[in-house]
């Protein structure tokens, strides 16, 4: 059992959790992930590590309520409660070096895994240009944390309710058009966002790292469900990634595979919401 030391909302349907897992907190690095299971009937949910506090033994995760399990976690798991299983750190850490000037792009929930990478790149002596974006102001979080580790931070919202109106890829194009010294780009967010960002960095020929959230079952290097195509070769996000060279990734395949279980996910959520309603009315 892994206790929830802290929980706070970051926006509508977005929660930040700190879980007590001293072993993971001691060694977890930016770019790696954990697998969490809520209860005996739960699925294994891969979540990228946001922060590790070795002193407290806390592992910070940000969870968006998109399906049954994440919704259930948001509604039924509170500070002081415990989740049944937490395994990690899994996957390879981000390649943090002194590159010079780097651009770190986080879209939507992607801001959460992006933050520790930006922080560590800054610590390693890079000039960090941050770009964060969301559909609207309410869904944009960690602006303060990102501002603290970036030399420059650009904010984008689809509806223009905060920062500039437009997509993170628009801000990326601006940066790359005006600065020729960008050595590397990190882009983390929805597959379509990463695909568009990679198309931009290809034009400017800047190496780009993306973090792929393909469907995982065990997440430990066994089931092969998370396979992705990178540079024409089959790779496994759980052990070869989750970060890959964005210029080689087949994003259309990734998006097609991510959608395969949409019907079952909808069915599961609907059933959960129905039982939840029964519970509150009875």
């Amino acid at each position: 059992m892994y206790e929830i030391l802290d929980k706070r909302p970051l926006g509508p349907g977005i929660q930040e959790y700190v879980l007590l897992a001293p072993d993971i907190a001691r060694v977890g690095k930016a770019g790696q992930f954990v697998v969490l299971r809520l209860h005996e009937r739960g699925e294994r949910i891969p979540l990228t590590i946001v922060d590790c506090d070795p002193t407290l033994g806390g592992v910070t995760l940000v969870v968006q309520e998109v399906g049954k399990s994440t919704r259930e976690m948001g509604e039924r798991f509170h500070k002081g409660d415990s989740v049944l299983d937490l395994a990690g750190p899994l996957g390879l850490p981000s390649d943090i070096e002194r590159f010079g000037t780097v651009v770190c792009i986080g879209g939507g929930l992607g801001i959460a895994p992006l933050y520790p990478i930006a922080r560590d790149l800054k610590k390693a002596g890079n000039t960090v240009i941050g770009i964060v974006g969301a559909r609207s102001r309410a869904l944009l979080f960690y602006e303060d944390r990102m501002a603290a580790v970036c030399d420059e931070l650009r904010i984008m919202t689809d509806d223009g309710s905060h920062g500039r109106k437009g997509y993170v890829s628009d801000a990326l194009r601006d940066v790359l058009s005006t600065r020729r010294d960008v050595a590397r780009v990190w882009a983390i967010g929805p597959a379509i966002m990463m695909k568009v960002c990679v198309a931009v960095t290809k034009e400017f020929d800047v190496p780009t790292i993306v973090s792929l959230n393909s469907v995982m079952i065990d997440g430990t290097g066994m089931c092969g469900g998370c396979r992705v195509e990178v540079g024409g070769a089959t790779k496994f996000a759980c052990v070869d990634g989750p970060e890959f060279d964005g210029h080689g990734v087949d994003f259309d395949l990734l998006m097609s595979r991510q959608k395969f279980y949409a019907e079952e996910e909808a069915c599961s959520l609907e059933r959960y919401l129905a039982t939840r309603k029964d519970a509150t009315t009875s």
Binding site: D23, L86, A87, I217, T220, R227, V239, E264
Partner: protein, 461 residues
């Protein structure tokens, strides 16, 4: 007069069992077991014992069953085998103990596996047997991976009086016994019972442990443990290397079976993990894992379940009983058929394009090599494809243990007699050393390594 045929074991009828995940074979009653045990010739040279990878004194336990002293039979088995309820169900007896049974030269061999299962199940109902444990030695052993190799090594080392901790990566111990072999062949309650038995002996089992990252093997040896056994088993699945394998609806057998067995997708949405299945399921491969997948597909509601295998029926590596059960249940076999492309429509698999094969000269495995028949391409319609052609080694320990030598195939290089690796105090066994093999072979390796580790701990020079 010796009965020529084995006493049959009761089974769920095929038409009933394809509608459920309950165990197919129902076990012997005491009367049936005694009758089968009476067929044993009690050969002085006991070839069956030689045929058993863990060397159970088979004539002795069968003799005990024949005189209805099941408690003694259990203690004879348990002296050599920590997981008899598992082995009685999943061992390929026909190529091991029963394959060399003297009676088998004229009649059907003694059904050693069924008798072993009978004894183990009897014990679970009677709880008579207590394994003797040597006094504490003060030595600590870490076992990495709670599958058949690791659990066996843990049990043997604990018997020697060592302090044993098993580290499991998944959320539940058992390894392939939990995630791979289906409930209808090996009920998970039985695996849990065997593991609980080890815990009662004082073996500690810790789940969710990412050894290699949370602690490396070097750190474990430096800080806490006197020896380490690596039994991390199979890892990433092998695919065919043909176009179309990333299409939706194409599963590795590992994913297909893990969703079903470990995550209980057959009880979705009561359990959270789903498994999307079409009406026509094609499984590629001829081993036990292929049989398990094809039979699982039927239970999940597939209308047709077809096994595609590139050699002929005689070369099928699966246990004969599994092939027999699969056929009874309506699994279709397409022998001498090799997939060359998976075809798709809108991102989802729709057919398997295959070549017909014929058998040529024997290859290095001694089996006749399948060679393609020119211009023999044809298509099999399929909306789900399961690839069951084997696995590579589990990558995590190999990625994180500098100095650990690997063999030509990328598995850990270990002495087959002792499990000793290139690192002092580090032993390995099971699929991580041999590549995909059987549960009992992994257990045999765990047992041999435990004996070598015990010797090492008693005299580390």
């Amino acid at each position: 007069m010796i009965r020529e045929k084995q006493v049959p074991m009761r089974e769920q009828p095929p038409s009933v069992r394809i509608g459920n995940f309950e165990e197919v074979a129902l076990g012997y009653s005491e009367e049936e077991a005694v009758e089968e045990a009476a067929r044993c010739l009690q050969c002085r040279n006991a070839p069956c014992v030689q045929g058993c990878p863990v060397g159970i004194d088979i004539p002795a336990f069968i003799q005990a069953v024949a005189v209805r002293d099941v408690a003694r039979a259990v203690s004879v088995i348990k002296a050599s085998n920590a997981l008899p309820a598992v082995c009685g169900r999943v061992c390929p007896q026909e190529t091991q103990c029963q394959g060399v049974c003297t009676l088998g030269k004229r009649f059907e061999p003694v059904s050693i596996g069924r008798l072993e299962r009978f004894c183990a199940d009897w014990e679970s109902e009677h709880e008579t047997c207590c394994t003797a444990i040597a006094p504490h030695t003060g030595k600590r052993v870490a076992v990495i991976g709670a599958g058949p190799a690791g659990l066996t090594a843990a049990g043997e080392l604990r018997k020697c009086g060592h302090d044993v901790t098993v580290f499991e990566l998944l959320h539940i111990a058992g390894g392939v016994l939990m995630y791979g072999i289906p409930e209808f062949r090996l009920p998970k309650a039985i695996v849990k019972r065997e593991i609980d038995g080890l815990c009662r002996m004082g073996v500690r089992v810790r789940v969710n442990e990412v050894i290699g990252r949370v602690a490396t093997i070097g750190e474990m040896l430096a800080k806490e443990f006197d020896a380490v056994f690596i039994g991390t088993g199979a890892g990433l699945p092998q695919f065919l290397g043909v176009p179309g394998e990333s299409l939706n609806g194409v599963y590795s057998a590992n994913e297909f079976l893990t969703r079903t067995n470990l995550m209980r997708a057959y009880r979705f949405p009561e359990y959270d993990t789903p498994l999307r299945l079409g009406r026509r399921v094609v499984t590629v491969g001829g081993g036990n894992v292929a049989m398990d997948s094809a039979r699982t597909a039927l239970r999940l509601g597939a209308e047709e379940s077809i096994i595609v295998y590139r050699r002929s029926e005689d070369e099928l590596p699966a246990r004969r009983e599994e092939v027999h059960h699969a056929k009874e249940e309506g699994v279709q076999f397409r022998f001498l058929t090799n997939p060359v492309t998976l075809l798709g429509e809108r991102g989802r698999v729709s057919a398997v394009r295959c070549l017909r094969m014929k058998l040529g000269e024997p290859d290095e495995s001694g089996r006749r090599r399948p060679v393609p028949v020119p211009s023999s391409e044809f298509e099999i319609e399929a909306d789900t494809v399961v690839i069951a052609v084997g696995n590579g080694p589990h990558p995590l320990i190999l990625q994180t243990t500098p100095g650990l030598e690997l063999n030509r195939r990328g598995n850990i290089a270990a002495d087959p007699k002792t499990g000793a690796t290139s690192l002092p105090g580090v032993y390995a066994g099971g699929d991580i050393v041999t590549g995909a093999a059987t549960v009992i072979e992994a257990m045999g390796a765990g047992k041999r390594a435990a004996s070598a580790i015990n010797a090492f701990l008693c005299d580390p020079r």
